[in-house]
Structures are given as C-alpha cells and as structure tokens.
Amino acid sequence: MQKLVVVALNSLLTAGLYATMSYGLAVIYGVMRIINLAHAGLMMLAAYATFALNDRFALDPFLSLLVVAPAFFLLGMALYATVIRWLPRSSAGPSMQSLLLLFGLWLVLQNLAYAIWGGDTQSILTPYTMSSVEFFGGRFGVPQILVFAVSILSLVGLNVVLRRTYLGKAIRAVTQNRDAAMLSGVNAGWIAAVAFGIGTAFAAMGGSMLSTLYAFTPDFGRSFLLKAFCIIVLGGMESFTGVAVGALVLSFIENFASAYTSIPVSFQDAISFTLLVVVLVAAPGGLPGLWRMLDRRAVAR
C-alpha cells in the first residue's frame, strides 16, 4: 500500500514535467497542423542554454527559466518568420513536407550544439541536486519537486492566458476552425507566429527542467520527443486538458510498469514507443476519441 502511494506520487511529479514539455507540441499542432520535429532540438538547445548560464554566471537553473523562456519565445517567432511561414498550408492534416523540413531544422540545431559545446555528456549540478525530502514513507528529490511546482505554475499561467485574454481566445479559435476565426477578424498569420513562439518557449522550459534531472548530449531529446508525441496523441492532439491527461496516463504507466513488473530499466523507453504505436493504431482520436466512441455505443444501446 505504501509502495503504491509512493509510486503514484512519483508518477504525478513526472507528469507535471511531461505536460510542460508536450504542451508546446500540442499548441503548434493545433494552430498550424504541423508536427514540430524540431521540438527535440529546441529542448536540447534550452538544456544547453541553461547549462551555459549556470556555468558562466552561476545562475540557478530554475531562475534561468526567466531568461531562457522569453529568449526561446523570440527564437520561435524568428523561426516562424524565416522558415515555417513559407511552407504550403494544408488544411487536411500535417504534410510530409513540413515534417521533413522541421526534421532538417532539428539536425541543424543538433549540429549547432555540437559545434558550440562538443559531444561530451554534460550535466548541471546545484547544491540541492542530490538532496531529497521524505514524506509518505518515500524519498523524493528536491529538483523533482521543484520541476513539478514550476510545471504546474507555468501550465496554470498558460491556462489563464488561453481562457481570459484576447490572444488566448484567438489561439483557441484558430485551433478549432481557422477559416471561421479569420472571418471573425483574427489575424491567423500573427497568431501562428505567436503560437510557434509559445510552443518553442514551452519546449525550452521542458528542456531546461530536464537538464536539472538528467545528463544530456546534443543527441538529447529524441526519446522525450517521442514521449511528448505519445502524450498529445493520447490527449486527442489539441486540447489543453487532453495534454494533462495524456501526461498523467503515460507517467503512471511508465512508473507502475517499472515498479511492479520485471521490465528492466533499459527497456523503459521502449514502453512509451510501443504505447505510441498502439495508441496511434488502436485509438487515433486519443483518449477523448475513445471516450466519445464508448459514449456513443452506450447511447446506441
């Protein structure tokens, strides 16, 4: 019983981080209908930016978020203006062309990191990296708890923006129906630029916080990209709540699988990859789609 509580709490802590790193992917998909493969590269770059700020100015990784997130917001807008904007728009779904272009961008970002920081494994050490607190009979790392707190804060903040401001309403409107939003006077091009900026900023926050928990190389981020994609597919691709639910589901499955089954740790990443394929194939609408389908069946009966 006690083990159950500890594993559940661990899953909850991981889920916060997962939601933050996945949200960027979801907002960009929602507004532009493209799958941002460069997400992984942006997370990796943010991890290195945090590392550089910590190394050069001894800035705390969590405080550096205040610098990194706005900087990446601008970087995202710049990327949109220079590259993404010129892609032909498809209303049906993401085009192969956009996927491959963003993939190319990811490779360029990786090379940038190799050129600046080299291929060695890096990690960020703070005075509290190794410390932990004990409650409910389990030990939880301080960075892990801080990451969870920051994730929740950022997600709540984002939710407020999405619900209360014109910008947020416009983003949601374009996500739901681009043409209708444009007819009501929303500047969809500008909204797309802002959404790409927000998506990049959230990728950066995810990457910065990952850097406090894991060691990283320029190759870092691929497994987290696949996890993030798994999460947004689980969450039904575009809704804010969907991302949170998807993050919870994935982190619970991962943590419980490693705590209660004999799946070795080295195979843990394979869980999310397999889950991704299973969900894409069996429930392409994600959990909301599955829910609607079951609901309809119940009504029909």
């Binding site: 799958i35 192969m96 190319g104 961008l105 490779l107 090379n111 696949l226 195979f267 990443d269 394929v277």
Partner: protein, 324 residues
C-alpha cells in the same frame, strides 16, 4: 533508338558506370574500391527505401532496423558455425517477416503519423537490441576470424546494388508499381479503383526491407564488427531517408544520385577534421533547402530547368498543340 534514349537519358551513363564498377578491382586500388563499396551500399539502401518511401509515399524513419537485423543475423549465425554466405537468405527472410509484423499495425496510419510511428519502432528495436544478452548488448559482436574476403564482398555488394536498381526500375512500370503510385497520389482514390492498399504497402515494405537486410549482412561481413551504435543508429535511418529525398523521391535516378552524393560527402567529410563535425548541419540544411525550394530534389530541379529551356525554344502555338 533515339526516342528510347530520349525517354531514358540516364541509361547509357548508368550502364557505363555499372561496367566501371564491375571492372574496378582490375583497374583501381584498394582505397578506391572501399569508396566504391560504400557507394554501392548506399545505392542499395536508398533505392530500396525509395520503393516504399518514394513510390508509395510512405516515409519510414526506421530503416536502420532492417540493416541491423541483416547484420545481426549474419554475425550470430556465422558465430554458430554457418558459412557467412549461407546466412544471407536467412537475414532477408527475417527482415521480411519483421517488416510484416511492423507493417500490419503501422500501415493503418497515414502520412506523418506513419513516419512518427516508424521513429518509435526504430528506437524500440535499438533500445531492445542494446539491452538483450545474446546480441552482446551495447558492446556489440565480432565476426568469427577468417571470414573476411574483400574481393568477393565487393562483387556481392556491386551486384546487389545493380540488381536493386534494376528491380526497382522494373517494378515501377509494372502494375504493382502503378498501384503504389496511385497510393501515393490519393490513397482513397486508389482503394476505390480496386487497389488493395495495405497489401501493396506490405509487399513494397517486404521487398525493400529484404534488400536492405542483405546490404546489412554484407556490411557486417565487410566490417567484421557490429554494435547497436553502428547498425541500429538513428543517423543511419536518417541518411537512408535523406539520399532519395535530396536526389528525387519516386524516381529511379534520384536515389542513385543521392547515394553517390552522400557517399562522396561522407568520404570528404570524414577526411577533413573541421568538416567532420558539421555533417548534421549539411544534412539538415540540405533537407530544409530541398523542402522549401524543390521537394522533387535534384531530379525535380533538372526537370524544371529543362522545362524552362523547352518553353523558351518552342513557340507558343507549338506548345499549345503539344499540350492539347
């Protein structure tokens, strides 16, 4: 004859080049042959991938799995006492079986979703291969001593490359190739016209993965040592995809040109210490530029230039009659 040559402008050059490849062991030294072996290896990978990715439009980012399956089958069976050459059919058969296992669920996905799922499959295979006991884990495996013979391996690789290109060219104009083309253009339309799309995709996947696994087996025999980091590497999957894209997806010549370009680039990059670390930049930059300006790759660019020239030469009236 002239008409035939006009329709297949790359054929004479291709034949000359093939003859050169087969004669290379007599004419050149070992260094050049190594480069040519590498080139042939990439031609197999690019042309075989093109069958599924180019003709049918199913872009898979998980092809290193098949290189790995071929390589591991050969090394494991050779260590069990088999002759390396006898392992070739087994590795092709295993890759085909795996391609069906992977294809059955993933071919229900369309476009980018299929692509993302293949990244997942490729990564899962790599993670599992690094974790298992009998594959030697992440430290890899060695071929038994005395199995190395560059000469025969060179001929095998060149013949495999020529056969792959010929097979792909033949398949393209066959009814099977046309159904793949129909799937690429409009999968629902193809289904409506009676193409069994899942079956056609599975067949294309099986053929191309079998060829890639054979190349992987020859790779293992040539390099004598394999590890998940060399044959299951994501960068290998990436290179396999980039070659046909840069050359021209869905054409016969495109992937070959792409493979020649990439093997040349690789040789140049590995030789220069400053450029060695920038290959990702070059690959990624090429991908961005190709996708933004000419999704048809080198072949697409060539055709566009030729059309411009033709239009300038033909008077407007003649063009109108030609078009009608």
């Amino acid at each position: 004859m002239r008409e035939f040559l006009r329709r297949h402008p790359a054929l004479p050059a291709g034949l000359l080049f093939s003859a050169g490849l087969l004669l290379a062991p007599v004419l050149t030294g070992r260094g050049t042959q190594n480069d040519l072996w590498n080139m042939a290896f990439y031609v197999v990978l690019a042309s075989a991938w093109n069958l599924l990715g180019g003709f049918a439009g199913q872009v898979s980012l998980g092809y290193s799995a098949f290189v790995g399956i071929g390589a591991y089958t050969t090394v494991l069976l050779s260590n069990a006492g088999w002759s390396p050459w006898l392992t070739l059919p087994v590795s092709a058969a295993l890759a085909v079986a795996f391609s069906v296992v992977v294809g059955l669920p993933t071919f229900r996905l369309r476009g980018p979703y299929f692509t993302i799922a293949t990244i997942g499959v490729g990564e899962a295979v790599r993670v599992i291969a690094s974790g298992l006991e009998f594959t030697g884990g992440s430290s890899g495996l060695r071929m038994p001593a005395g199995t190395f013979n560059f000469e025969s391996n060179y001929y095998a690789m060149v013949v495999l490359a020529l056969l792959t290109v010929a097979l792909v060219a033949w398949l393209r104009q066959s009814p099977f190739g046309l159904s793949l083309e129909a799937i690429r253009q409009d999968i629902d339309g193809a289904e409506a016209l009676g193409v069994h799309s899942t079956q056609a995709k599975l067949q294309a996947h099986a053929i191309s993965s079998g060829l890639v696994a054979l190349a992987g087996s020859l790779f293992a025999m040539n390099f004598q040592y394999i590890s998940p980091g060399s044959v299951f590497d994501f960068r290998l999957s990436l290179t396999i995809v980039l070659m046909p894209i840069v050359g021209g997806m869905g054409t016969i010549v495109g992937p070959v040109l792409g493979a020649l370009l990439f093997s040349y680039l690789q040789i140049k990059l590995l030789a220069s210490p400053t450029l060695r670390d920038s290959y990702l930049f070059i690959y990624g930059g090429l991908l961005v530029v190709v996708m933004l300006f000419e999704p048809g790759g080198i072949v697409g660019l060539w055709e566009r230039l030729r059309n411009v020239r033709l239009r300038r030469r033909t008077p407007p009236v003649a063009e109108a009659t030609r078009a009608s």
